[in-house]
């Protein structure tokens, strides 16, 4: 018997070094991500277990072509910048363009300003907030280092996706529901495991 009720795919994107890997709580010591990394995170919301497949992408330009191929099946995209680095914020528009091009247009998009533990902030909170609002994204500031807001980030994403999935009910032809495992595509809902 599966021990979760929902499964969602979440993809982390953003410039190199903004803290995607830290934020996803991947095992430390691997340095810059190459290609794509993967892990499972299980979250309990209202006594229901939600399983998140986290795909952590490399920020380095040279891996862009392979990382893009992971956007398409994502239910949620977490776009991360470093609040102490203007260039990482300036690149957000480019990232959004990529997301528009490669991801499902109904993907849940969350903007995260990371590294709030640091003193040398360059992007004020409200600037990030504004940007997120203008582009129809959730916004959150985190410190991956001090685990500030990290849990909250994933819980929010999980519950929002769960709401969406529930409100769509049994409809099987939801465009977001790309098959994620070996089940038949006729299963009740691809967000949802059978049991």
């Amino acid at each position: 018997m599966e021990d979760y009720k929902f499964l969602f795919k979440v993809v982390l994107v953003g410039n190199a070094g903004v803290g995607k890997t830290c934020l996803g709580m991947f095992p430390p010591g691997q340095g810059a991500t190459i290609g794509v990394d993967f892990m499972i995170k299980t979250i309990e919301i209202d006594n229901e277990k939600v399983k998140l497949q986290i795909w952590d992408t490399a920020g380095q330009e040279r891996f862009r072509s392979i990382t893009q191929s992971y956007y398409r099946s994502a239910h949620a995209l977490i776009l991360i910048y470093d609040i102490t680095s203007q260039p990482t914020f300036d690149c957000l528009n480019d990232w959004l363009r990529e997301i528009d091009e490669y991801a499902n247009n109904r993907v849940l998009r969350v903007l995260v300003g990371n590294k709030i533990d640091k003193e040398d902030r360059e992007i004020p909170s409200h600037v990030g907030q504004d940007f997120a609002q203008r582009h129809d994204m959730r916004y959150l500031e985190t410190s991956a280092k001090q685990a500030d807001n990290v849990e909250k980030l994933f819980v929010q994403i999980a519950s929002e996706l769960m709401e969406q999935a529930k409100s769509k009910g049994i409809s099987s032809d939801s465009p977001q529901s790309l098959p994620f495992n070996t089940r038949t595509s006729k299963s009740i809902n691809d967000y949802c495991c059978n049991r």
Binding site: I34, R62, S65, S69, N181, T182
Partner: protein, 793 residues
């Protein structure tokens, strides 16, 4: 209720499954109980799906409790059941099985990931009886690709996970590729993951020795293979299974990867990659790889010349492989695409602040393209090479003088390509080498206004004419040559027919090219080589006379021409004497040889070295006058020498000569006056002497207007258009060389005789839509008319 009752109420399959697990994991799978389970599954296949589901539940629980040994035992059991059961019901069992594999792959434990992969690979080798329409491998592709990029700090672990990833990908490919009903593995969403993952392992994996050094020897790493070769063989398998429609699905991500990882400059890896692809793809599709790479080149039009050069270089290294498999339209498409790129490169406007080095890069790019073209052509059968040469020739912009330097550039590039192809071609019979339309275009270009263009055309002629490798010895006009230095073979019948048929056209064009005022020493030397090769390859006693007439006409040109510089005239004299000597040697005309040697001696004697080779930019005049007495080849003596050699110049033999006025007769006529007049004149002053021009003023009856008028008046011609055209040509041919010379010398503008003829044709054409040979505006692409057989495919 007691526990015992409960367990006795458990279904049989559950008990059988439970019993395969030992009480202590170290004992491993309980073998005889496994046999019982297998027997049960075989005899009650309808229970197989429940067995699978139950095994899955047990394994899930063990995974979450981190009881990895039990997980492994569950996996082993599943493997064995998979192999043992071939029933239709296997399908449902597989569902449970794959869920376990996925679950293990989701674990962050490297050993479980590797275990899952190993099992999956075994599974991928099992042929299932029924296709599983609904099965999806999306997760497996994503996860295995991710594993291919593993970055575990422990290098041994990293290598193992990466290898597992590659093997997993290989498994997915095997499982899906043969059956269209399952996941379409060729979808970009999969290929964009699979291909870069393989390539990444092909170029970034540290060598095995590094790993051994850094982390101590590991048995697993020292396995038969490493991730590099594994990835490579997987790529080979992938492209090898690609049908035509899938080739691009594989190649596109390859190109993307090479772009993203900046792997064009240097292009070692790119070349390696493409060679692997070319050698592994089903050979009939290999040109699709070439095509895709060429499209990529097109798309990189704005990339730096370095990158484009590198791509073109890769192209040149693989294009030969495709040549063997290419058929008609493909060949021309490839050639056309290369030519188009050349053209684009030529017409590229360099940014205003561009440095010299940048434009140099552009040149290298062009060279690379031409090289690619040559590589391609070299591996085509000879008959296709001719077709390609004709095709390229048809792409050469035809114009006499253009203000647009780009056009000239394009022309130069096309001809260079043609030259490249011609070097890969070996002539056997000249009539096969020079189909009429090809020869026509070549000869036409031989009279182009640019000396460089003419030079390239001459070089093309050299490569095509020279069947006996004489060209290197004949690169410069010389009077120091002996028969033994030349590789000679008796001229074949068909070659004799060829030269009879085309002598007039060829000679007229060569003559006209010598009239050009911008000829350099190199041009004249190249004409020497051309004439020498014609002489060696094509002349026999039957056909030597026309050739000698041409030489005499050239001497006449050197004496009488009003616009050539003195130095250019010297070069012509050097050319004339050299080639006259050669023809005497080659055709064994001893009296002629004696006579020519006498003239040479005379020139030496009178210090008229400026009339002898070596040709140089500035031949100094050491003799008392420019043309001292007895230094020219004179007609009466020549006639005598020819007669003595057994060549009867009074009887005109052969059908070609029959209806044409003899060159010698005409030359004879004009020479009478010219010698005496000229021998005491300073040639430079001749250039501006009006009397000279008047002497050669066009005969009223031979003007082109007159030609046209006579044509229009002829009722027969009005009826039969082809006849008209033929007559026009004939008229041109029959008009004596001297008269033609006169007409062209008299014309004030720079345009050559040839273009005048073109004008006449065009005027005639307007009303009756003659498809004249000289018309430049072809309504349909020339190549389609040139090779209808190619377009019949």
């Amino acid at each position: 209720m007691c526990v015992g009752c409960l367990s006795r109420m458990r279904p049989r399959y559950k008990r059988l499954v439970d019993n395969i697990f030992p009480s202590v994991p170290q004992d491993g799978l309980v073998k005889n109980n496994m046999e019982k389970l297998t027997f049960y599954a075989l005899s009650s296949p309808e229970k197989l799906d429940r067995i699978g589901e139950y095994l899955f539940q047990k394994a899930s629980r063990d995974i979450s409790r981190k009881r990895n040994e039990f997980v492994m035992i569950a996996m082993e059991a599943m493997d064995q059941l998979l192999v043992a059961c071939h029933a239709q019901t296997l399908n449902l069992f597989v569902e449970s099985y794959l869920r376990i594999v996925q679950k293990l792959l989701e674990s962050s434990e490297p050993s479980l990931q590797i275990l899952a992969t190993q099992s999956f690979v075994r599974f991928s080798n099992i042929e299932e009886d029924t296709p599983s329409y609904h099965r999806r491998y999306d997760f497996f592709v994503s996860k295995f690709s991710s594993m291919c990029h593993n970055n575990n700090p422990n290098l041994v672990t990293m290598e193992m996970i990466r290898m597992a990833g590659i093997k997993g990908i290989q498994g997915v490919i095997r499982k899906t590729v043969s059956d269209d009903l399952v996941e379409n593995i060729w979808e970009p969403v999969h290929m964009d993951k699979i291909v870069p993952s393989l390539l990444f392992n092909m170029h970034t994996m540290k060598s095995k020795t590094d790993i051994v050094v850094e982390s101590g020897i590991s048995e697993e790493v020292n396995d038969k293979t490493d991730s590099f070769s594994l990835a490579e063989s997987c790529l080979r398998e992938l492209i090898g299974r690609a049908s035509f429609g899938h080739v691009k699905s594989v190649i596109r991500p390859v190109l993307k990867h090479l772009d993203a990882h900046h792997m064009w400059v240097p292009n070692v890896f790119a070349t390696q990659c493409f060679r692997i692809l070319m050698f592994s793809i089903q050979s009939q599709y290999s040109y699709a790889v070439v095509e895709t790479l060429m499209t990529h080149l097109d798309e990189n039009g704005n990339a730096s010349p370095k990158i484009r050069t590198s791509i073109a270089d890769v192209l040149s290294k693989i294009i030969a492989i495709a040549a063997n498999e290419s058929v008609g339209p493909t060949v021309l498409e490839i050639i056309n695409s290369l030519l188009t790129n050349l053209r684009t490169s030529v017409t590229r406007r360099p940014p205003s602040n561009i440095g010299l080095s940048e434009s140099d890069g552009e040149n290298e790019y062009r060279e690379a393209l031409i090289h690619a073209l040559g590589e391609f052509a070299a591996h085509l059968p000879d008959y296709q090479k001719i077709e390609i040469m004709m095709f390229i020739m048809s792409k050469v912009p035809q114009f006499k003088s253009s203000n647009n330097p780009n056009d000239l550039h394009v022309q130069r590039m096309c001809l260079k390509s043609l030259l490249m192809v011609s070097t890969k071609y070996s002539s056997v019979q000249m009539n096969a080498t020079f189909p009429q339309s090809f020869l026509d275009l070549l000869l036409k270009t031989l009279t182009a206004s640019e000396d460089e263009i003419r030079f390239i055309v001459l070089r093309i002629l050299h490569t095509l004419l020279d069947r006996h490798n004489n060209a290197p010895k004949l690169s410069k006009a010389t009077v120091n040559i002996t028969k033994s230095e030349i590789n000679l073979e008796k001229c074949s019948r068909s070659d004799t027919i060829f030269i009879r048929k085309h002598a007039q056209d060829i000679y007229v064009s060569i003559y006209e090219s010598l009239e050009m005022t911008n000829n350099t020493v190199e041009n004249v030397e190249a004409v020497y080589t051309t004439l020498a090769l014609i002489c060696i390859e094509l002349l026999s006693e039957e056909t030597v006379l026309d050739f000698i007439r041409l030489i005499l006409s050239i001497q006449e040109l050197a004496i009488t021409n009003a616009v050539l510089s003195t130095q250019q005239k010297f070069h012509l004299h050097g050319l004339v004497i050299s080639i006259m000597l050669l023809v005497a040697i080659v055709t064994d005309l001893h009296p002629l040889k004696d006579y020519v040697e006498k003239v040479i001696e005379q020139r030496k004697l009178l210090s008229a070295t400026h009339l002898l080779p070596e040709l140089s930019i500035h031949n100094e005049v050491k003799s008392a006058s420019l043309l001292p007495a007895g230094v020219l080849i004179e007609e009466p003596e020549l006639t005598e020498a020819l007669k003595a050699s057994g060549i009867d110049i009074t009887t005109e033999t052969g059908p070609v000569l029959a209806h044409r006025r003899s060159w010698v007769e005409n030359t004879n006529m004009s020479m009478k006056g010219s010698f005496t007049d000229l021998s005491n004149l300073d040639l430079d002053s001749v250039n501006s002497t009006p009397a000279m021009q008047r002497r050669f003023s066009p005969n009223e009856d031979l003007s082109f207007e007159a030609m046209k008028r006579s044509l229009m008046d002829n009722p027969v011609v009005r009826v039969e258009q082809n006849t008209r055209q033929t007559q026009l040509c004939d008229m041109f041919r029959n008009t004596s060389f001297q008269d033609l010379v006169a007409i062209s010398t008299a014309s004030k503008d720079e345009e050559s005789l040839h273009s005048k003829i073109t004008d006449v044709f065009n005027k005639v054409d307007i009303s009756n839509k003659l498809s004249a040979v000289e018309t430049t505006n072809q309504p349909i692409p020339i190549y389609e008319t040139l090779f209808p057989e190619l377009f019949a495919f």
